[in-house]
């Protein structure tokens, strides 16, 4: 039987043409492996395979702007399917700033090549500082410029997390972070808000795009309806207590343990996401089930319109009650 080479002659030649030595290439693989929690050898073998069959696998570029790396960390903790299988078997991850850290100039080359060819999936984490480009510079260039260039020839664009979608918390800082809705106003962007991104929603969106070649059906804010169609409130298991007018005021009272959190500032009635169904950490828990509130991190108004987070301010209350006056769908 013919021996299977880790780096085929064809791939090696191609790498050389691109100015990458074999050693450089393997170094890059090693660094990427560390980030995604893969052993070096598994990853090296996998990425080599992936690149050899690159024509079948869509290339992916992952950019980071003003971020906390929380979305990257969240993505690496996905178990079903494991992030490693998505990265190795499903996509060809060409660029990830944190992942490719071991080889700065190599990353740049891989990035340039991929951008030149076009047609890749672009994933963006973190906001774009609109007050001054210098608040986020990468390789001497502004993040905004890099983003615009990468977006121009992307096949699909996915914004992950609250910052990249609509600006999130950095939007309220002096750096005036903006999301892709403002940074790339003319582009169709698949928005996957929440702080951080839910790994299932990211994996599912990628898999959907690869399976169908299409962008999933989006709502008016660019969010896939399959994850963001319904209000948290409508699927909340505390909903019965809301209807009964039972609101938690004291976290120490076991009787109130499952009562509605609106008096503590819950934004569930205004927030569209499937958190109560999907839950987090492999189904172990989610915000409302640990006795906390929904802070509305799936909505475009997060964070500026959600603050104060833990109290019922007049405006929030008005909106929530206005919503509650609508006819109850289940009962009509």
């Amino acid at each position: 039987m013919k021996e299977k080479f880790i780096l085929s002659k064809g791939l090696e030649t191609e790498l050389e043409l691109k100015g990458l030595s074999r050693r450089d290439f393997l170094k890059y693989c090693t660094a990427t492996a560390a980030l995604f929690g893969l052993s070096e050898f598994e990853f090296t073998a996998g990425i080599a395979r992936a690149m050899e069959t690159a024509s079948k696998k869509p290339p992916v570029i992952w950019l980071e702007g003003q971020d906390c790396a929380g979305c990257t960390i969240a993505f690496t903790q996905i178990l079903n399917p494991p992030a490693s299988s998505i990265i190795l078997d499903t996509i060809s991850l060409r660029y990830h700033e944190t992942a490719m850290a071991a080889a700065g100039y190599l990353a740049e080359k891989a990035y340039d090549e991929t951008v030149k060819k076009g047609g890749y999936v672009l994933i963006v984490e973190g906001s774009v500082p609109s007050a001054d480009d210098r608040y986020c510079m990468i390789g001497g260039r502004s993040f905004r410029k890099i983003l615009e260039e990468a977006a121009a020839k992307a096949g699909a664009i996915i914004a992950v997390g609250a910052c990249a979608t609509y600006g999130g918390i950095p939007a309220a800082t002096p750096t005036k972070g903006i999301g892709l809705d403002k940074a790339l106003p003319k582009k169709t962007v698949i928005n996957l808000p929440t702080c951080p991104v839910h790994p299932d929603r990211l994996a599912g969106t990628i898999l959907y795009y690869l399976a169908t070649g299409k962008v999933p059906e989006l709502d008016k804010y660019g969010r896939p309806l399959m994850y963001y169609r319904e209000l948290i409130h409508d699927n909340c298991r505390r909903r019965g207590h809301f209807n009964a007018g039972e609101f938690l005021t004291d976290w120490n009272d076991p009787k109130q343990r499952e009562w509605c959190m609106i008096q503590k500032g819950c934004k569930g009635p205004l927030t569209h996401a499937d958190c109560p169904i999907r839950r987090w950490n492999d189904g172990i828990n989610f915000c409302i089930d640990c006795g906390s509130v929904c802070n509305g991190c799936a909505e475009p108004g997060f964070y500026a319109q959600m603050t104060p987070l833990y109290t019922v301010e007049a405006e929030t209350l008005r909106k929530i009650y206005a919503q509650n006056e609508k006819p109850d769908k289940e009962n009509t």
């Binding site: 021996e3 880790i6 780096l7 074999r22 050693r23 393997l26 170094k27 560390a34 052993s39 070096e40 050898f41 598994e42 073998a45 003003q66 971020d67 906390c68 790396a69 929380g70 979305c71 960390i73 969240a74 903790q77 178990l79 700033e97 944190t98 490719m100 850290a101 080889a103 700065g104 100039y105 990353a107 740049e108 001054d132 608040y135 986020c136 510079m137 990468i138 390789g139 001497g140 918390i169 950095p170 800082t173 002096p174 702080c195 004291d250 976290w251 120490n252 987090w280 950490n281 172990i284 828990n285 989610f286 640990c290 006795g291 906390s292 603050t307 104060p308 987070l309 833990y310 109290t311």
Partner: protein, 520 residues
């Protein structure tokens, strides 16, 4: 003679930290540490409801998540006059314990171990262990498939790299095992934390997660698995490395720095709150033969912005700190301020905590000839992971006893609403070291908010007097025989557990050539 240094401002990385060094005669002669991304969170908080702060500041970092939530909540506790019930403190400690175990283990295996092993040694494994043979088979088949090795480590192994086939093969197997343990530790924290990264349950006055007995049992079962891994895998590996092949690096004290150490103290062991798992203290100029620990005085902390991209200001206490950017400031090279204690730069983190608590295991290594430095930092991290695991059992037992008492509480409901005015500081010891949040409240809103984070202490630039920060100082004299292969520099920087990607530039004084190396 060192020539003028060309600075490439930012490299192509997810770069929050950049390190430049100058080499002469095969050794680091000078070093600069720069933070290169800013978001301005502290300014955002001004005018907000103070209760937002733990949620917002948690987003400082998604890797060492939620440690800011903890420090921020403690600052609010002080400013609101809230007394966290013991049940609330126990749950806070338990979710932070889970974060510790995840964080220290990932640091050793995923981020550091590969700097210390020659992975190709696996091919020579001759033992009979089934699991290790499987690791070997896999690698050997990869090696055989082509003329050159596919498993080249980041940098060429040097004389300190571990080459023993059994140790290396075992380490690689443990590297894979650690990944699973890591995800499980995060899930353990989510039992009360709600989710990761960024817990949801820590608020002023305590926590929101009223526990039940099943959760205690679940946490305990998951902790049992972590304990087994820490005791039977992690600690033996660190000891095998540290006292074996890396012993020369340990005795040379590579990566020592200023030998100043600071711990704020953290983790109450009992409801009296006096006895802490990690005691507070300060050491200036460590003398291992006669360790003198001064009392920690929060008033002695100041921050210098002379070399940072902020509006010029004399060094001030964090209560009076401000965050007004000046991107055009001459001489500035970092977004990181330069915190000093009594005017001195300090190292914070596991090594500082273990020396200040006079931990017998770490002092035992020092007695045998190890000097505080890169290797001692790894050892300290492993030692304190075990301390945290044991403490978690203690906290679980106390929680179980506490929650069955009538009137069990997790939150100070009386002090939930913000006072008209107040001020407070919240200290905590996250895995990476001393963390402080300072808040001033006026008219029920935040008037000023400042955080001094562990990476600010360790990665700080020079201060008013031109004294280097701890990263910078710890690189001085580090052997770099081959500028193409700065493996010792990487080892030193990684030993601090930088939670930031960092770029290292090496400038050869002879040719003024800039070579780029990246620590991921």
């Amino acid at each position: 003679m060192a020539k003028k240094i060309t600075i490439d401002p930012v490299t192509r990385i997810e770069g929050h930290l950049k390190i430049e060094i100058e080499i002469e005669d095969g050794k680091v002669k000078d070093a600069w540490s720069s933070g290169t991304m800013a978001r301005g969170f502290e300014a955002l908080l001004t005018g907000k409801d103070p209760r937002d702060a733990p949620y917002v500041t948690s987003r400082f970092c998604g890797v060492c998540f939620s440690v800011h939530q903890m420090a921020s909540a403690r600052a609010l506790d002080a400013a609101f006059g809230a007394k966290v019930p013991w049940g609330g403190t126990l749950i806070r400690n338990l979710v932070m314990g889970a974060e510790y175990i995840y964080d220290h283990v990932i640091h050793f295996y995923q981020l550091s171990a590969l700097d210390y092993i020659d992975i190709m040694a696996i091919a020579d494994y001759s033992g009979k262990d089934k699991d290790l043979l499987a690791v070997k088979d896999k690698i050997v088949s990869l090696v055989k498939s082509r003329d050159t090795f596919p498993l080249t480590p980041r940098y060429e192994p040097d004389e300190f790299s571990v080459k023993d086939p059994e140790i290396v093969t075992t380490a690689v197997k443990h590297y894979i095992d650690a990944l699973k343990m890591n995800a499980k530790a995060r899930n353990m924290g989510a039992i009360w934390g709600g989710r990761t990264p960024h817990y949801q349950n820590i608020v002023v006055g305590g926590v929101t997660s009223y526990p039940d007995i099943n959760q205690v049992a679940r946490f305990r079962t998951m902790l049992d698995e972590q304990k087994k891994f820490v005791e039977e895998v992690y600690i033996p590996d660190v000891l095998a490395f540290g006292t074996g092949p890396l012993w020369p690096l340990a005795t040379m004290g590579v990566g020592g720095g200023h030998y100043n150490y600071l711990s704020y103290g953290a983790f109450e062991k009992d409801s009296a709150g006096k006895d802490l798992l990690f005691p507070p203290g300060v050491i200036t100029g460590l003398n291992p033969a006669d360790i003198r620990i001064d009392k920690f005085d929060p008033e002695k902390i100041t921050e210098s912005v002379k070399y940072a991209w902020y509006k010029e200001k004399v060094p001030v206490h964090p209560y009076n700190g401000e965050q007004i950017f000046n991107l055009d400031k001459k001489g500035a090279y970092s977004f990181v301020k330069a915190p000093r204690y009594d005017g001195n730069p300090m190292e914070v983190g596991p090594l500082a905590r273990m020396i200040i608590s006079k931990n017998k295991d770490i002092l035992g290594l020092v007695e045998k000839g190890a000097k505080p430095g890169a290797v001692a930092r790894h050892a300290s991290r492993a030692i304190e992971t075990k301390l945290v695991v044991d403490a978690c059992y203690n906290w679980l037992d106390q929680l179980q006893a506490e929650m069955t008492k009538p009137g069990f509480k997790i939150h100070d409901t009386e002090h939930w609403n913000p006072p008209y005015s107040g001020m407070g500081v919240g200290f905590f010891e996250p895995p990476r070291g001393a963390l402080g949040h300072w808040i001033k409240i006026k008219d029920h809103k935040i008037e000023n908010y400042q955080a001094v984070v562990p990476s600010t202490w360790n990665a700080s630039p020079r201060c008013e007097n031109g004294v280097r920060g701890q990263y910078e100082e710890s690189l001085i004299g580090v052997p770099v025989p081959d500028p193409e292969n700065p493996i010792n520099v990487v080892r030193v920087i990684r030993s601090f557990d930088p939670c930031l990607a960092c770029a290292i530039h090496i400038i050869d004084p002879q040719t003024n050539e800039v070579r780029k190396f990246i620590v991921e």
